[in-house]
Symmetry: C2
DNA sequence: AGGGACATGTAATTAGTTACATGATTGT
DNA sequence: ACAATCATGTAACTAATTACATGTCCCT
């Protein structure tokens, strides 16, 4: 699955410009599932337009540059369905935040605390957005996914909040217990 | 942060071969935070070896090809600390599973159910592994991260379990209510 | 006899990020 | 005045995936 399918998916929920698609994929709900920037969206849109999976309507605007509003065609709808039908690839995750915490003993305690606090704030912010968007009538799938996001973010934020201080305390203790050999088997599996 | 830092991080917890590092990053605990395959690990290791951040000890083996066991040098340790010190990039997530569910109305209900069930099983499997590895003495950060993983996976599995049937039911209902206009604003933000 | 685990690597391709390039309008 | 938002696109670069290439041992 690539950015082309991503665009088809966004357009399934309604016509949009490249700018709006990017917004959905880097700030909106979809950004929690699949991120993309201008550099991948605009070329994808051009390709989709070329193969007739979307149509593009140029709209002149007062002052601002012309808008290009894209719409899903029936062929595009079918292509989306076909893409969705094949088994989804395994989730791809890359969390430098979590990876860094793995080595929190190598970081100043204040930095560890700061990162956790920032992350909690980030989750809370995401939760607020999700909660407000829930309720407005949305597709059943979108509702399900939003509910899932809320459940997961809530659990994450709660864990960080309840274990933050314990981690810092443990870190402070082992700090002055001279250096200890880190366990090897702890990470291997 | 790139695969080189990933390797330094894995080696911080103990000497390992490229094969073992890949295992940790594609099946082990770390795979939940940062995935990598042979194609990126072996070249990274070669580069790290060239710049003196790791040392490589070749070990002849009965029958099997020679093992190359890598160890973190003091310079490597410092490089790891330096990398970890800079602010972590935003999490990068790509979940085709979740993206697909967003459009569950376009998929056969049985397929939706199957995917959710598979995902629940996957979470349960991950939970089991995490729980068994917890308890063995590990670095405080690793313990914290594992606990976080457990909390999040548990919430995710529970949500899927408790909402699975509701989704399928809703899907079946709207199916024969003719086609409805999906709401546009539901995804934009 | 066949598959999987152990073990290392390279080369080609693909995909995606980042930076560049432009420019008006609106709000602070 | 300055930053942010709206708006579109390209080019160069980086990074990572995939496929290829090889070979033994052990279990079923």
């Amino acid at each position: 699955m690539d950015v082309k399918t991503l665009c088809l998916g966004v357009l399934f929920f309604g016509d949009a410009t490249g700018y709006e698609i990017r917004k959905a994929c880097s700030e909106g709900m979809i950004s929690h599932l699949y991120e993309a920037g201008y550099g991948s969206i605009y070329p994808a849109l051009a390709q989709l337009s070329g193969t007739g999976l979307v149509t593009c309507t140029e709209m002149a605007q007062d002052g601002r540059p012309d808008k290009k509003v894209y719409s899903l065609t029936e062929a595009g709808r079918q292509a989306l369905i076909e893409s969705l039908r094949e088994p989804p690839a395994h989730d791809r995750i890359r969390s430098e935040f979590m990876f860094g915490l793995l080595f929190s003993q190598l970081l100043p305690n204040a930095e560890v605390g700061k990162r956790i606090d920032e992350r909690i704030a980030w989750y809370r912010d995401g939760l607020e957005r999700m909660r407000t968007c829930l309720g407005h009538d949305m597709a059943p799938g979108a509702q399900f996914v939003t509910g899932y996001g809320i459940a997961v973010y809530e659990a994450a934020a709660n864990y960080l909040e309840t274990h933050r201080d314990t981690l810092i305390r443990t870190l402070s203790q082992s700090e002055d217990t001279v250096e200890e050999q880190p366990a090897r088997e702890a990470v291997g599996r």
